[in-house]
C-alpha cells in the first residue's frame, strides 16, 4: 500500500496527462496525432486507476488497467485500418478532409496561406560508403530532408 501523499501525487500526474491528451485531441488535425492524444488520455486514466488500487490495497484497479491495455491494442488495430482507408480515399491524414460530414450550422475550415517553413534542415550523419554502389535510379532519392 502507498501513503496518501503518493496517492495524490499520482492522481495529479494522471490529471495532467489526461488534460494534455484532451487538448491534443481537440486541436490537432493529423489523425495519427489525434490518436496518440487519445492514448495519452488512456495513460492518465491508467495512472489514476493504479494509484487508487495501490492505495486501497485492492487488485481491481490494476486488473482494469490490464483490460485497458487489451482494449487499447484492439482499438489501435481497428482504428489504424480506418485511418488507412481514409488515407486511401483522400490522400491526406487530415481530419478536416472529412469536413463535408460536419454539422450544418458549423463553419467550414478554410486553410489559410502558411508562411515559409522556418525550421533548420537537419544535417544527417554521413556514413562512409562500403561495398559496391548498387545501380539505382538517381532521380528518386530515398532520403528525406525532414521528418
Amino acid at each position: 500500500m502507498i501513503p496518501a501523499t503518493m496517492l495524490t501525487n499520482a492522481l495529479l500526474v494522471g490529471a495532467v496527462l489526461f488534460c494534455l491528451g484532451l487538448v491534443g485531441i481537440l486541436t490537432r488535425r493529423n489523425l495519427i496525432v489525434m490518436f496518440l492524444s487519445a492514448e495519452l488520455m488512456l495513460q492518465g486514466v491508467s495512472v489514476t486507476l493504479v494509484a487508487w488500487s495501490r492505495y486501497h490495497g485492492d487488485w481491481g484497479g490494476q486488473i482494469l488497467v490490464v483490460f485497458v491495455l487489451t482494449v487499447a491494442a484492439c482499438e489501435a488495430a481497428v482504428a489504424l485500418v480506418f485511418v488507412l482507408q481514409a488515407f486511401a480515399r483522400t490522400g491526406r491524414l487530415d481530419a478536416s478532409a472529412w469536413q463535408a460530414l460536419r454539422e450544418e450550422n458549423l463553419p467550414r475550415v478554410i486553410d489559410q496561406e502558411l508562411p515559409a517553413d522556418d525550421r533548420v534542415v537537419p544535417t544527417w550523419p554521413h556514413l562512409s560508403p562500403a561495398g559496391v554502389l548498387p545501380e539505382g535510379d538517381d532521380s528518386r532519392s530515398l532520403e528525406r530532408d525532414h521528418v
Binding site: I2, P3, A4, V23, T27, S46, V47, V78, V83
Partner: protein, 277 residues
Amino acid sequence: MDPVSTATATPSGLLLAGSVAALAASLWLLLPKASDTVASRRLGYLLGAVALVGFAATGRSLGCVGEDAVFLTVAGIAVISGLATIVTRSPVYSAIWFAMTLAGVSGVLLVLGAQFLGVATIVVYAGAILVMFLFVLMLAQPSGMAPYDRVSNEPMLAAAAGAVLLGLLTLSIGRLSAAEPPSCCRMPSRAQAVAAAAPADGAAAKDDGSTTLIAPATAGGDTGDANEVAHLGAELFGRHLFAVEVAGVLLLVALVGAIAVVSRGEATETDHRRDSR
C-alpha cells in the same frame, strides 16, 4: 471545513488561478499555428515551465505533493514529454515523444509498486502499438510533415478548456487530501489497522507518528510484495477469468474485423454475374 484550510485557501487559490492562466497561455503559444515564430514558441516553453512549477507548488500548498525524488523525476519526464507530444509539429517526433511519455508513465507505475503493469506498458504500448503508429505514419506520409500539421483547430479555446479542467481536477484532488487532516503524515485507515495488528517490530519509533509515512510493504500481503506478479495473475485468472475470456474474444474480433475491412477481396462468381448483367 477546518479554519486552516480556509486560511490557506486564498493564496493557493491565487496560485492555482495563475498556474491555470500560465498553462492556457503556454498551450496556446505552443500549439501549431500559422502565426508561429521562434520567439513565441520560446515564450510558450517559458510559460509552460512556469505553469509546471506553479501546479507543483499549488499541489504542495494543498498538501498533496511529496518529496520522493524518483517519483518527481519520472513524473516530470511523463508530463513534459506529454506536452511535447501534443505540441510537436512533426507527427513522427510526436510519436517519439509519446514513447518517452510511456517510459515516464512506466516509471510512475513502478514507483507505485505495480511491477507487471510498468513492464507491460513498455512492452505492449511502446513495443507494439507505437510501432504500429510509426508504420502507418511512414506509409501514409513518406514526405514528412504536411501543411495540416502546422495548423490546429481552435487552439485558444481548447487550451483554455484543458487548463481549466486541470485546475478543477487539482482543486478536487486537494480537497481529497484535505479531507483527511493531516494528509502528509497519515496512512489509509486500512493500512493503519494492518500495521496495528502486525507485531511491533516496525512500530518501535511510533511516538512522533512520522514513521507511519513508510507503508508496511509486506504487512498487507495483498499488493506490493515480492510476489506481486504472481498475485496479480492469480487474481486475473481466478476472479476475473470470464473477463479474460471476453477480452480474448474481443482481440479475435478486432483481428478479423481489421482484416475484413482492409482487404477488398477477390471478385467472386456472383460479383461477375452481377457486373455483367
